[in-house]
Symmetry: C2
Subunit: 720 residues, 2 copies
């Protein structure tokens, strides 16, 4: 049974200079009333927003920002601050308003009032965004915030394990994550909960705003599980708080107990009433709409405020929170002093730590990547090439945390001497143990959590940790919501996506990606790179390492690929596309992409031999990188004015129409066959491609290039 | 504690004419040995595949196909058969081999041998595919199979609730779902498990092949939860079987106990040894590679088989399974007789039931949709239009099961008089109850499970149930893996995707889709339709209802849209694109899409007024439908030979290059602003668009159309 903490329980707040919530009861009551009326006003002004949850959670907020969390409003990014994550991001007014009350300078009342306004530079968007002070991570759609919080808590454990020394806990912050009923239904959260329990992240506290209401009505419409029992089964400790709307002492005690948990992550199940004080309290109507002027007036009357006055925060309430700024500065100064001592005691570790705090790499990666000459010249799977690039990087660069969604034998990301990130008490059956300083992560078969937790790792302090995820490319459709949030936040990460085409083979159409590349090519602020051989794979890693403000997907083959040491070039590959084989008086440009470059090269050869057609070849690993080149460069590569361009790729062609006049591509899902046979089955064979290209070239010679333009041609004659 | 069933326990097999596994012990042992050697051989021949799991699960297979499941090899699709789902689909040889042994005519030994071969018409792909006899659903990537099984079990409950009468249980089949360690880590499975427990699907049995091995090694590398406690917390009963590799009587008893569970779904935790008999038994190496000739020989020696002989199934083993065919025919005949009696007793219900068994609609939907005249002419959100179309359909057509991922107030899918699909014992706090005959589904905040379970509903018997899912379009990125599997299987479904552009507004960039449409436009075998008003929304529903072999996404606005009764046309909309406003001697064609049609129409007007430029407008709700039109039709709509074409859509433009020479689109993520302000912020305003189009038209007049071609122009001058 859960330890139920009720009013009057112990109030062992974590810092002695905190006042006690029992002594503060009157001030707390006033703050609660003020907060709730303010939320109602803020939603009412533009007749929208999510008031109910924020109002219900007010007491939790006081317990957190007044009595529990270590943060510094005047330096929101001080390194060892506690991290707060709002997984139920629609209740963002909850967070914004507390940031205002405790004195984050940027969060003025005028900013609060810009919530849901047409103000284009508001720092109060409808869901919290990492760009703004006091926001640790853009949680976005429901469920991911828990995963982000797991990542933040991992980062602390990992950095602490590497840098802390006896008496020098230079990284020991807590992560506090607020969630609602919805988050506990999303699969990504359930995956992350398993992992946090497995890793015994005792520095992670999830606070469940248990109001039993979602948009559709009461939660028992769709969820009747025993959540406390479930969390315990997942390796969490559980505390229950009965009166989460008012009982700040009980909340403070629960949070303190959670902070002092030495063994497990803590789940605090807090019972609240959504929209407390309004006429729709406890109803789904309190969730996502303003209450209406009449109800707002009634709320204020009920809470002893003047219904005629709006956006009122009494001086007493500001006074109540005024200790937050000096307290935060003390936290930060204490930490700085500790760090100074640490620098004297452990100068080398301090130097490394400083680099990482600044977001710098711990070693010069440019010197670590293998040279072209070091790669094998025999046909090599690009997933193997990726290992040849990434393994030496990962072994040297302490920033890198590399993991896989249970495909260690397939993705080649495990380097010699790797240590697993694991709870140090764990002794695994298979004899591979680890500790928190380990940098190899067994994500299990949890692609979405892998991406969303990696966002937390990367967001801990930009550049301190560079997460590398890996799985089959097809499974990045599971991870897509998390990968997208990484892009939206501009978080540097490298996603190693192997088995990236129908060359995946026998696993069949369920595992062969066709349309997914188009998603990532169209997605803003992410690079999707398909290298054609080892040298281009090195180029892809360079692009990824240079892209400090965006994630990169490196898309790799399962099967062995021809190597093109005479043509491929890591520098040129970073331009997204480049001339691979030039040809004077060429009749056609073939765009070769990634694993399908071999078909472009063979087609070129056959066109020459059999059709006396001259083809030049362009390698096109990354559309996004190419788009950022100058128009002159683009024209020199594509020669669009003079000869037709044909793209060859075993994906849906959508989007290639920008660069090509015709395409040899896939128009259906794949088929379970050995990789080479799968290619053949779908017409990827120079004996089939070359005649189609020849026909196209013939048409153009007859009718002119313009006859072709404006109407993209699908050349693949094979349809299944 | 789990009820541990061990050898010698009760053997209450479900059909009296079954022999008893205790009596059959010798035959069972021989079958186990034979089966395991055969699996090893089948993987060895092409040096690949997944042998270990199948070998470990052999005894489970005997318990299922010999002693438990109701099925008929000679009529694999008889309606009331038990459904078997292989969620750990990589172990497909397990299923294929049992289908062979029990006499599915299509599954000859030659077919088994085609596993992993280059045979293009093999019915033994690397993961099971629904097209083939005995395969109920294409489970695909891990985790989804459990969700599919939940859908199949729901279908039984639902149809039984509607059609069964006292003494006439015409739909009462069980669903048996095999899973591995991985499935219990995937979020989609965890979502589905919650729902199955909530709905008390006592006809669902999940059999957990608990071998504690995944690709990376032992499961405790990444999962150390107490799974039995967790399943119980989710509302499941748990049975544990200690010796899952040999103890067929215990397995049969567990399955029988599960079948007779009147209250809850059952989770059977079966302890097995992966790759049993091989030298790598119990090791990750047994998972996904062939054992090598030496080990295969050793396996055979250990199991008393001749190492020199391959693919051996002794007559005694075939004999052992020979009762499956007559037994299956008896099952089917009994059911047919019952149905004949039912037809006499309940002729009307029988008639309706027969229609559904045939996959036919229970009413003529063409007459139910509102006419153009019945739609409001004032600006109307297309999500509202969708309600106006779907609500009357859903209220009349018993095939339709409509649900939402907790967005009932937003998606307008709830019709008057709807009854919820719920366990009939449930009394919800908010006073909305239901029963299994209900056709409105509260999926909770579980988008991936919504899609994957809907695949199970649709796969139960094609056409019997038409699932309609709904949520915000952005959240279909969570659902994408399931939506894709629906497309891959050709399952008719309608996905109602509301809030489909930056018009979503205040929720911000995290909720505003930019790149997602491109994924669904590129994905094979699915329609993605963006109607521009109510009339086109009706057209979208007609397309979706006609598309009996593919899912359809109808993509709808949050905000009110202008209605174009003089231009829009449901019949023409079904062609994917059509001339919306024709114009003689037009200078430019504007492609208007969905919610952004208003900008095309206003731009047309402003071009005429201010720039004396004549623009024709094409409405383009669906690329896939347009692609299937004749070349003549396409040319008549796009007039590609004569004037430039400009697409206007607030998405990433990728793919529109096929139909347009220039685009006014989005190149970044969105922004939190009220919908109208968000459009303006990103340049979607005729005052900004028209001058850009005018410039383009001017260029073309000066330099000719060909000067434009081959180099797509992005017209939007606004970049944030």
């Amino acid at each position: 049974m859960a330890a139920v903490i009720t009013n009057g329980a112990a109030t062992n707040s974590i810092a002695p200079f905190h006042s006690s919530p029992v002594q503060d009861q009157k001030k707390i009551d006033q703050a609660l009333r003020t907060f709730r009326c303010l939320i109602a006003d803020l939603c009412e002004q533009f007749n929208g927003g999510h008031p109910g949850g924020a109002m219900g959670m007010a007491a939790i907020g006081i317990a957190l920002w007044k009595y529990t969390m270590k943060y510094s409003p005047t330096n929101p990014n001080y390194f060892n601050r506690d991290r707060f994550v709002l997984s139920n991001g629609h209740t963002c007014l909850f967070q914004y308003t507390f940031l205002h009350l405790v004195g984050y300078p940027a969060m003025a009342m005028e900013q609060l009032k810009s919530y849901h306004s047409a103000c284009t530079n508001s720092i109060c968007p409808g869901h919290p965004e990492i760009e703004h002070d006091g926001i640790e991570v853009t949680t976005g759609p429901l469920g991911q915030g828990i995963a982000n919080a797991v990542g933040l808590a991992m980062a602390t454990k990992h950095l602490g394990a590497r840098y802390n020394r006896p008496g020098f806990e230079i990284v020991n912050n807590m992560t506090w994550c607020m969630i609602g009923d919805a988050c506990l239904q999303e699969g990504v959260a359930l995956e992350a909960i398993q992992l946090a329990g497995h890793w015994k992240l005792n520095n992670l506290v999830v606070i469940y705003d248990n109001n039993q209401i979602t948009c559709d009505g009461s939660v028992d419409l769709c969820n009747t599980e025993d959540i406390n029992a479930k969390m315990r089964a997942c390796g969490w400790d559980v505390i229950e708080v009965d009166d989460g709307c008012y009982d700040v002492p009980a909340l403070v005690a629960a949070l303190a107990q959670a902070r002092s948990n030495n063994i497990k992550p803590t789940f605090i199940n807090v019972h609240t009433l959504i929209g407390i004080g309004s006429k729709v309290a406890g109803d789904a109507k309190a969730h996502g709409v303003a209450f209406g002027a009449e109800d707002v007036a009634s709320i204020k009357t009920r809470f002893g405020m003047d219904p005629e006055q709006h956006f009122i925060v009494q001086d007493e309430v500001y006074d109540f929170f005024r200790d937050a700024v000096p307290r935060g500065e003390t936290f930060e100064n204490d930490w700085k002093q500790l760090l100074e001592q640490y620098a004297k005691e452990y100068p080398e570790m301090h130097q490394e730590f400083s680099l990482r705090v600044q977001g710098k790499m711990t070693d010069d990666w440019t010197k670590i990547l293998p040279s072209k000459e070091e790669f094998p010249t025999i046909p090599t799977a690009s997933r193997k090439s990726a290992g040849l690039c990434c393994n030496p990087l990962a072994s040297k660069l302490h920033n890198m945390m590399v993991g896989t969604a249970d495909l260690t034998p397939s993705v080649n990301m495990a380097w010699k001497g790797k240590v697993d990130f694991q709870n140090p008490d764990l002794k695994t059956t298979c004899g591979i143990n680890g500790d928190y300083s380990g940098r190899y992560i067994h994500w299990g078969i949890r692609e979405h959590a892998m991406a969303a937790i990696s966002n937390g790792l990367a967001a801990f302090n930009k550049g301190t940790i560079l997460p590398v995820t890996s799985t089959f490319f097809m499974f990045y459709i599971y991870a897509a919501p998390g990968v997208r949030m990484g892009a939206l936040q501009g978080l540097q990460q490298i996603h190693i996506a192997t088995h990236d085409s129908i060359g995946t083979g026998e696993d069949g159409p369920t595992h062969q990606p066709i349309a997914l590349a188009v998603l990532y090519r169209a997605m803003p602020d992410i690079l999707y790179i398909r290298p054609c051989d080892s040298e281009e794979t090195a180029g892809a890693f360079i692009s990824a390492l240079k892209a400090t403000s965006s994630p990169t997907i490196i898309s790799l083959s399962r099967q062995n690929l021809e190597q093109y040491p005479h043509y491929s070039c890591r520098e040129k590959a970073q331009k997204g596309a480049y001339v691979f084989v030039e040809e004077e008086d060429a009749d056609v440009t073939l765009l070769g992409v990634g694993a399908e470059m071999v078909f472009a090269m063979r087609t070129r050869h056959l066109l020459q031999e059999k059709f006396q057609i001259k083809a030049r070849v362009v390698s096109f690993p990354c559309q996004k990188l190419f788009e950022s080149q100058s128009i002159e460069y683009k024209r020199s590569v594509l020669k669009y004015q003079s000869i037709p361009r044909v793209v060859i790729e075993a994906y849906a062609v959508n989007g290639w129409e920008r660069y090509a006049d015709a395409g040899f591509s896939m128009s259906s899902f794949g088929h379970s066959l050995p990789g080479a046979a799968a290619y053949k089955y779908f017409g990827f064979d120079e004996q089939i491609i070359a005649p189609e290209v020849a026909k196209l070239v013939g048409d153009v010679k007859l009718n002119g290039l313009d006859s072709l333009r404006g109407e993209f041609r699908d050349l693949n004659p094979i349809h299944h």
